[in-house]
Symmetry: C2
Subunit: 340 residues, 2 copies
């Protein structure tokens, strides 16, 4: 007696279902039934088992459970780093919902290289997740398909794909952004500068290309300003730029970068938006915290994350229960003080 209570504190190894069974004086099958709320267990023995569980501090091993029913109750999330607010908001939404549905979330961060993508996919498959949601600009559709070979239900964000056990969320950023810039150009302006940030991802690249194409088709020109992804670098570069250029319409991928332009302009004696106008593609709350407030586009990424995981759980429960396999959400334009 004394021994077992001491053992309770000093267990080296995990307490197993077997020990619980022994202490409760039943077979391990009965313990399993109690754990999983199966019917057909006397209230009395149920109590005994629960008492033993509490006394031993027993927690079933998700590993063993997973192996036994080939369900890990784990979902994978592939994202390109949580460094940006919109990504971490999305992540928050995903984890939140996953938790509600009883799933643990494993995060797989992808860098911007193909080799890394392969390694991450490998890791994802090995880890035996029940399903995954992927938000990764850099990943090609074939790589995503390759995951499907392993029959892992997938929700893909940002790619227009479909298939068995595959749902997708389309984020419509390009059109809303282009509409605004087009309008500016069509009003007779040919002063558009686009911040061309290294490794910013497919979505931003698409917008840049779309804009260039449109300009060309209309006898205009898009000026590209290439920088590495850093507020400081862009700020310094623009300070220099404004020594020789005193006006323009600038498009930046994110609001922090837009702020770099705004700050550089104002500190170069220019007026915003009279001399220089600035538009941020991806806005965050800082778009309206910063003065002047930055005109930008926004999407509720927390919601995107929630929806993604909700779709996934449906897929996991019953592949046919996911009616709408594609969800579309459109960026909203918030005109503020940095554009006219």
């Amino acid at each position: 007696m004394i021994d077992s209570s001491k053992k309770q504190l000093n267990v080296k190894d995990r307490v197993t279902i077997y020990e619980v069974a022994k202490v409760a004086g039943v077979s391990l099958a009965t313990v399993s039934r109690v754990i999983n709320n199966h019917p057909n267990v006397t209230e009395k023995t149920k109590m005994a088992v629960k008492a033993a569980i509490a006394r031993l501090g027993y927690k079933p091993s998700a590993l063993a459970q997973g192996l036994a029913n080939s369900r890990s109750t784990n979902i994978g999330i592939m994202i390109p780093s949580t460094g940006y607010a919109y990504v971490s908001n999305m992540l928050d939404g995903m984890i939140d919902i996953a938790k509600i549905y009883g799933y643990v979330t494993s995060i797989f961060i992808t860098k911007r290289t193909k080799e890394d993508a392969a390694q991450v996919i490998e890791s994802l498959i090995k880890s035996h997740v029940d399903g995954a949601v992927i938000y990764d600009d850099e990943l090609g559709t074939d790589e995503i398909r390759s995951i499907q070979n392993y029959h892992i239900p997938l929700i893909v964000i940002g790619h227009d794909m479909s298939g068995d056990s595959l749902g997708s969320i389309i984020i419509e950023y390009k059109d809303p952004v282009m509409d605004v810039v087009k309008e500016h150009m069509l009003a007779g302006n040919d002063d558009v500068y686009v911040l061309d940030i290294v490794n910013e991802g497919k979505m931003v690249d698409d917008i840049r290309n779309g804009l260039s194409d449109f300009a060309e088709a209309n006898g205009k020109h898009i000026n590209l300003l290439r920088f590495n992804d850093s507020y400081g670098l862009v700020y310094a570069g623009m300070k220099e730029f404004f020594q020789t250029h005193r006006k323009g319409y600038f498009v930046a991928p994110r609001d922090s970068l837009a702020a770099a332009i705004v700050n550089a302009a104002i500190e170069s004696g220019l007026r915003v938006p009279e001399d220089v106008e600035v538009l941020a593609e991806i806005g965050s709350k800082y778009s309206y915290i910063i003065r002047p407030q930055i005109s930008s586009f926004s999407i509720d990424m927390f919601k995107v994350g929630s929806i993604a995981v909700r779709m996934l759980t449906k897929l996991l429960k019953d592949a046919s229960s996911l009616k709408e396999k594609t969800f579309r959400i459109r960026a909203k334009y918030n005109k503020r003080e940095t554009t006219r």
Copy 2:
């Protein structure tokens, strides 16, 4: 032949080590040896096995591996949501290093309630992580100790704890902040207002209390301004506040909230820092992006995250290999434009 190649594409179930063995014409023990780079395998059979693995697209199941050697190669991360930049930066650092060491990271988000904490801990233990790093203001030391009963190596961030298989990282925020505010008070000022944000966490609470105590001991007074955690709410509240109060020294937990005060002040016709001074406890890059730039304290949270996981991996490899069980990092004060 044709059958098996078709099967490769249509496998319903996971390809197992057993199938690989069959295809390669060896026993599963040999396959296991190849997978784990064990010696004593002929180069020839090794090739055969690798070929089979490639052909079948076999990936070992981390679940089964974990069960077999009671190591899940999974580490848990407990954090209070990735909503704030400093948390997601830390998270990034953790995942980054974990990946390098071959660990998959499972995220456990804690809300600000005891019940939730219990549930999350339960989930953490069930999930069979090899170790975990915890950054959670709200968690009590006893709750953390309870995790230790399950012999899960832990790195705790923000609590000064120690013990077997337990390391900690102390973030020194309180002293640096108090030093600055004390200096202001000791200079003869009694105009300090502290933003008292609901559910902001232990660290911020500590600072608030420390400040109050200090004030009391010096015949002064700290004014508390209580708000929910929202830029909009604080901004609106401060606009109203500045209708009747035209000066003060304000301390806010984060820079976005500090910005709310700054904006409200300026738009109320007050000058910063001449009339109102503002200090943010936790700064981010926005502290220097915003104009006027916000005086704030900062810590490289990415680094904190990296170090935490690095410490954990040492603990996992060999509990005694972690020499320094406590790592201290001190917030750095960046005096900028919102204070004199």
